[in-house]
């Protein structure tokens, strides 16, 4: 165990524990970001540049923002006043200890550990790119198609203007709008075209 590994591991574990136990949800989300960045640093110490940077790009850049945004939009920032531990915490510890023990036992007894560790593969960005374009080209294409379709779909949903600029629906609202909200000669946009406002 090298010194960088120890430092990164301590920071990551500490941040993960904080993410579970802090009271304020935004604080939890921010500690989770530290834990994810710690994981990225671990990948970098293992010479996996591409995976490390992708981890930062995806988790710190996108997922963390998503979590924080969701917390912000759905919760008031008053901290809940029930205790952090649920009543059945004792049983929870027993169950998790049993699960961990089973997994550990299975891992230690599996044949995977007894094998020789293979020599470290040379995983440069170029190699990853070559593999993605040859061996794994089909999954890559499928994911690419899916994401592009999702993005274009999002744009098309957003393309629709506000409901009352839609001619079929705005017919009824037109008179109402033009008298209530928009005196005929106010503002710089003429509403002479069919379809109402702006």
């Amino acid at each position: 165990m090298s010194l960088p590994f120890v430092i990164i591991a301590i920071v990551t574990l500490f941040a993960a524990a904080a993410a579970m136990s802090l009271r304020n949800l935004v604080h939890c989300a921010l500690s989770l970001v530290v834990a994810l960045a710690g994981l990225a640093a671990l990948y970098l110490t293992l010479d996996a540049q591409f995976v490390g940077f992708a981890q930062i790009l995806v988790y710190v850049g996108a997922v963390a923002i998503l979590i924080v945004f969701a917390v912000l939009l759905t919760r008031s920032d008053a901290t809940p006043n029930q205790t952090i531990l649920s009543p059945g915490w004792g049983i929870g510890i027993v169950v998790s200890a049993v699960v961990f023990a089973t997994l550990g036992w299975a891992t230690l007894n599996s044949t995977g550990l007894s094998k020789e560790t293979p020599p470290a593969p040379i995983a440069t960005v170029k190699n990853i790119g070559d593999l993605l374009m040859t061996q794994y080209v089909l999954p890559l294409e499928v994911i690419g198609l899916l994401l592009t379709a999702a993005m274009i779909g999002a744009v098309i949903i957003a393309m629709k203007e506000e409901p009352f600029s839609n001619p079929s629906r705005s017919r009824g609202n037109e008179a109402h709008l033009s008298t209530k909200l928009e005196p005929p000669h106010v503002g710089s946009y003429g509403s002479d075209k069919e379809g109402g406002r702006s």
Partner: protein
């Protein structure tokens, strides 16, 4: 001799590393490379703050700062000493933290802003052989650390417990996420042509000359479209006018850093400008040939001078745009990113693919230009139809 002048900093660094004991060499080498980044770019920041105020002053028909020169002398330097009293002022001002603020997060936000911004400089080639850390996945690194900036903006806005701060943070994050997509998609075109994520390779691919003119990517149809998209998106990413909604003074005071004062405010200011330089530097590397000269007879000029000349030219364009264009509205901002820039960036990727596979010749110029400008015209026309802009009418006082 010009060769030596070009490599003078690299040679000096080697000399300096040579003095240290063997075991320390990698450490000393890294330390020297790193320490020059804040030094050079903070000096540039000091220069640009005055340059911007003077530039905007000129455009708005006033003088701008023109008094302060070298302290304790009569030399005025056209006011370019202004940053010294500015710095002293921000250092000596009281640091006010609101009572309701989240103390820890409020304190950490400016620090978290500055770290990724400074990290981004690690991969920028500012001259021949002058990159602090030339990663294989340099471009990916740049975008990865750029993502952390949004987090610090959120931390600042949320921890201040102020409605303006929170509104500013929400606006900033929405804007940054929206414009990051065209930013990255326009950079993808360069990766497709060069076939490498390493910034040194990208510059090397542009370091060729035909008829004395450099092979900069901006001189190709897809490169021009990509550069314009990249430039607009980088304006939005660095929160510069006309995309300065997150800190719109007339609407939400100063947005996410309303509650920051003294040196923390200066840190936000510094972070914002350093981010602007970094993203301009990336634009230069991707599309404007990095440190290469535009004409082959100018290759004797040291490479770092080219880089910084281009950087200052680009920053001047930022300032020019700030002084010229009014601020957008929030819905206009979002519509522009998602309905105009995103489709164009996708079309540009297709055009780049065509360019790559059609081989040399004049046909690919015609096809790619037609594809890009055709889709630009159709998209622009379609969106203008949607606006339903009628004839402008005026009302005068009776």
């Amino acid at each position: 001799m010009f060769e030596a002048l070009d490599q003078i900093f690299v040679t000096l660094k080697h000399e300096a590393v040579g003095f240290s004991p063997d075991a320390w060499r990698p450490f000393v080498s890294a330390l020297i490379s790193i320490s020059f980044i804040p030094l050079v770019f903070a000096t540039l920041f000091a220069f640009v703050t005055v340059f911007e105020r003077k530039g905007i002053g000129r455009i708005q028909n006033r003088y701008g700062p023109n008094r302060v020169g070298i302290p304790l002398t009569k030399i005025r330097l056209c006011g370019f000493g202004q940053f010294i009293p500015d710095g002293i002022k921000s250092l000596t001002k009281e640091d006010v933290v609101p009572y309701a603020a989240d103390q820890v997060v409020h304190f950490l936000a400016p620090v978290v802003l500055l770290i990724p911004v400074l990290l981004a400089y690690a991969v920028l080639p500012v001259g021949r052989n002058m990159t602090a850390a030339d990663f294989d996945a340099g471009l990916l690194f740049f975008f990865a650390v750029g993502g952390a900036v949004e987090l610090s903006v959120f931390m600042a806005g949320w921890s201040s417990h102020n409605k303006y701060s929170l509104l500013g943070a929400m606006r900033a994050i929405a804007q940054m996420i929206s414009y990051e997509i065209p930013l990255i998609l326009s950079a993808v075109t360069v990766i497709m042509i060069v076939g490498s994520l390493k910034l040194a390779d990208i510059v090397a691919a542009q370091n060729q000359y035909t008829h004395g003119l450099a092979h900069w990517f901006v001189f190709t149809p897809w490169g021009l479209a990509g550069f314009i998209l990249f430039f607009i998106a980088s304006l939005a990413e660095s929160n510069r006018s006309p995309f300065d909604l997150p800190e719109a003074e007339s609407e939400i005071i100063a947005g996410y850093f309303t509650e920051y004062s003294g040196f923390k405010f200066a840190l936000f200011f510094l972070g914002e400008y350093l981010g602007m330089f970094a993203i301009s530097g990336l634009g230069i590397t991707l599309f404007l040939g990095g440190w290469t000269a535009p004409f082959s007879f100018l290759t004797w000029v040291p490479s770092y001078l080219w880089f910084f000349a281009k950087l200052i030219a680009l920053v001047f364009t930022f300032i020019w745009i700030r002084a010229t264009l009014p601020r957008l509205r929030m819905d206009q901002l979002m519509n522009f990113a998602w309905k105009f820039m995103l489709p164009l960036a996708l079309v540009n990727i297709v055009a780049t693919g065509l360019w790559h596979f059609m081989g040399a010749g004049s046909l690919r110029w015609v096809v790619c230009s037609a594809l890009i400008f055709g889709s630009y015209a159709i998209l622009g026309w379609g969106l203008m139809q949607n606006q339903k802009l009628g004839k402008r009418t005026y009302r005068y006082a009776e």
